[in-house]
């Protein structure tokens, strides 16, 4: 047993750190560390820097412009980039649709879409959930009917994250209603500028516009935009979901958030002393740090097993549940740490270029909105209940 990185892995970590020191724009990392809004332009600027370095497509084979890092290298990257406050890549293009295109797409689709993802020319969003199909994704109803060289798509998708920025959407659509739900689904790539597509914002309880509804009314999609075979989309969808699930535990993000919490608790005062010295509060922080330590090692065990050629199994679902709970606990503690100042909604301070006086703490304004916003963590990417169902089926043998 050896829990240390190899010499090569340590050298890689140094290389990552040197890159982040040199290339990560300070204004962007300040936004990430302070839980502030990132603009489309912020994401694109960072993506360009990563692409130039050749580090944008960490999951792709080298022949398509990926870096083909080992699981441990990817982990080092996640950990370090979270620690430095680098934005996480918006995953829908590079980490979701691209692996599907690489594995199941035609040569033409690969030639067309992969370079555009690398260059940032295309911004993808995900058309999976529907108003009637959430946890029960296979019950989706958006219809695609083939007419000559096109599919005619009608229906509605929802919870489409950052769909307002996207020019492409990958969709699960129903192409066959005669067979079992899972067997009549196809995977379509759709240009958002096609006539008949309407994007409507969904404002969440924190006042943010992050997710959208997408409506399709007689939308003509060329048949060459079908990925793989008609009616086999469920297989591709599940393949994609395994990609989605890895990384949802957000261990690196939790570590950064915990650091943020400790700094906050050092600045906040309770009974004339820094809050972090308060016995009950410091114990709460200690408890979540301990849980995070355990989850961090669980994460490394999964990574080591994948590095050795294994497949992540029930453990990654368990880790999604624990990891999201830990992040939510950290958000809860940050909210508690600001006491009465959890109540004001000081929207102007959410913008990094705000130049006025801060109401209480330079990092206070985003804390309560962030706490509420991150209730989504236990809902999306397969709700924690669904993850537990997956684990039950995989290992309990009941």
């Amino acid at each position: 047993m050896n829990l240390n990185y190899t010499t090569e892995e340590l050298a890689f970590r140094d290389e990552v750190r040197a890159f982040l020191d040199e290339k990560l724009p300070g204004d962007i990392s300040a936004k990430v560390k302070g839980f502030r809004r990132l603009s489309k332009e912020d994401h694109q600027r960072w993506q360009k820097i990563l692409s130039e370095q050749g580090w944008y497509a960490t999951h792709w084979p080298e022949e398509y412009g990926g870096v083909n890092w080992s699981p441990v290298q990817k982990h080092i990257w996640d950990e370090e980039s979270s620690r430095y406050g680098a934005p996480r890549s918006v995953p829908f293009g590079v980490n979701m649709v691209a692996p599907v295109i690489i594995k199941f797409g035609t040569e033409e689709q690969k030639q067309r879409y992969l370079p555009r993802i690398l260059s940032g020319e295309d911004w993808w969003c995900q058309g999976y959930s529907e108003p009637g199909a959430g946890s029960d994704l296979a019950s989706l109803k958006t219809r695609a009917v083939r007419e000559g060289d096109h599919y005619i798509v009608n229906g509605q998708k929802t919870w489409t994250t950052l769909g307002q920025h996207a020019n492409m959407i990958f969709c699960l659509v129903r192409t066959n209603t005669e067979v079992k739900a899972q067997e009549g689904i196809s995977f379509l790539l759709i240009d958002m500028n096609t006539p008949g597509i309407t994007v409507r914002p969904i404002i969440t309880l924190d006042g943010e516009h992050e997710v959208n509804e997408v409506f399709f009314e007689d939308v003509k999609v060329p048949v060459e935009n079908l990925v793989g075979e008609e009616d086999k989309g469920w297989t591709y969808a599940k393949y994609l979901l395994t990609y989605e699930r890895t990384g949802l535990a957000g261990i690196g993000i939790s570590k950064a958030a915990l650091q943020h919490l400790k700094e906050l608790a050092t600045r906040r005062i309770k009974n004339g002393r820094p809050l972090i010295e308060d016995p009950s509060f410091s114990q709460r922080i200690a408890q979540v740090e301990i849980d995070l330590m355990a989850a961090g090692i669980s994460n490394l065990r999964i990574i080591a097993s994948v590095e050795g050629g294994g497949m992540p199994g029930a453990e990654s679902s368990m880790l999604k549940v624990r990891g999201t709970e830990i992040r939510q606990t950290i958000n809860d503690l940050a909210r508690r740490a600001i006491g009465p100042y959890a109540i004001p909604f000081v929207e102007e301070e959410l913008d990094l270029d705000y130049e006025g006086d801060f109401l209480s703490d330079e990092n206070a304004a985003p804390i309560t909105p962030q706490y509420f916003n991150n209730r989504k963590l236990s809902i999306f990417g397969g709700s924690n209940e669904i993850q537990k169902n997956i684990v039950s089926k995989m290992i309990l043998g009941l």
Binding site: D136, L359, F372, R375
Partner: protein, 380 residues
Amino acid sequence: MDFRLNEEQQMLQDTVARLVRGEYSFEKRLEFSESELGFSADFWKQLGELGLTAVPFPEELGGFGGTGVEVQSVMTELGRGLCVEPYLQSVVLGGGLISQAGNSEQQERWLGGIASGELRAAVGLQEAQSFYNLNDVETRAEKSGDGYLLNGRKAVVIGGHCADVLVVSARTSGDSRDADGISLFLIPADTEGLERRTYPTIDGSKGCDLFLNSVQLGPEALLGEQGKAAEVIEYQTGRAISALCGEAVGAMEVACDLTLEYLKQRKQFGVPIGKFQVLQHRMVDMMSELEQARSMAILAASVADEPQSDERRRILAAAKNVIGRSGQFISEQGIQSHGGIGMTWEYNFAHYAKRLVMINHQLGDDDFHLEAYATLLQAS
């Protein structure tokens, strides 16, 4: 033993319920909340006309002489409607402080208006460094002429943006966090040197931080005995905790109802999701939390207007601890039971969820009250 409301109390609660049902749809609430005032002046006026803003005041002020139970009857229904009017701040806290500590002139000047709803009070008791400890007062009041000169800042004064009078604590002697040496002052809103930074709150109402920049007050501004306000503040925040428990219970009832309704109508995998045992158990846990909160609210109401004692302190700390935790539990688990829809601005559940968590940040969160309770713990 009888835990039910008596006939008059029930009538009072029904009156508020009818008013809220008639005037306070979800859509209207959003409008009120987004208006410049941050609530409905018209609804406030109706509260006054129906005598509801006078509930805790004596009959000569048009009131009921109501105690904790009557105040909770009102607050529970305001909680059910998620009403954003500053009833707690003006009627319960502001009115309470002036009733307890005010001399006859001060009572005459302010209480009639507060009881009729024509005047509104707000209270500035916490500070940037105070966390929830209301004895942690650094705002200074120095003798100046025959009055006082105030300098300092009061934090998160809900309703302070539109109050006619502010009841503010300041230190006339002693060190930060000494109970001794805290005094209360009545500051009319237009007093020179009083500045506000107004903001909306997460849960849809409005408040401000108050900046006291050399605010010169006459001797008539001192509310109660100089340096002896800590006990008054503790007593009145105790009454307010009981009132807040009522509001929380009302909001929790609706949050539970909405969640249960959703479990019945939302279908996945061909059945209502309420058929899944994991969601049934969660719903039962939410309702058990509500029952615990209800019990503690009733207990809090029973001591709210009793003379101060360690027993009263213990009960109120326990009650606030329970409603803080149960409110957050129902908020979080209710969102989880709904899924994404529970997090959307357009659906009322999300607004109940926000209010319930924010109640935990008013008058001390569950951690604060657990500590308070622990210091009063009886060994036997």
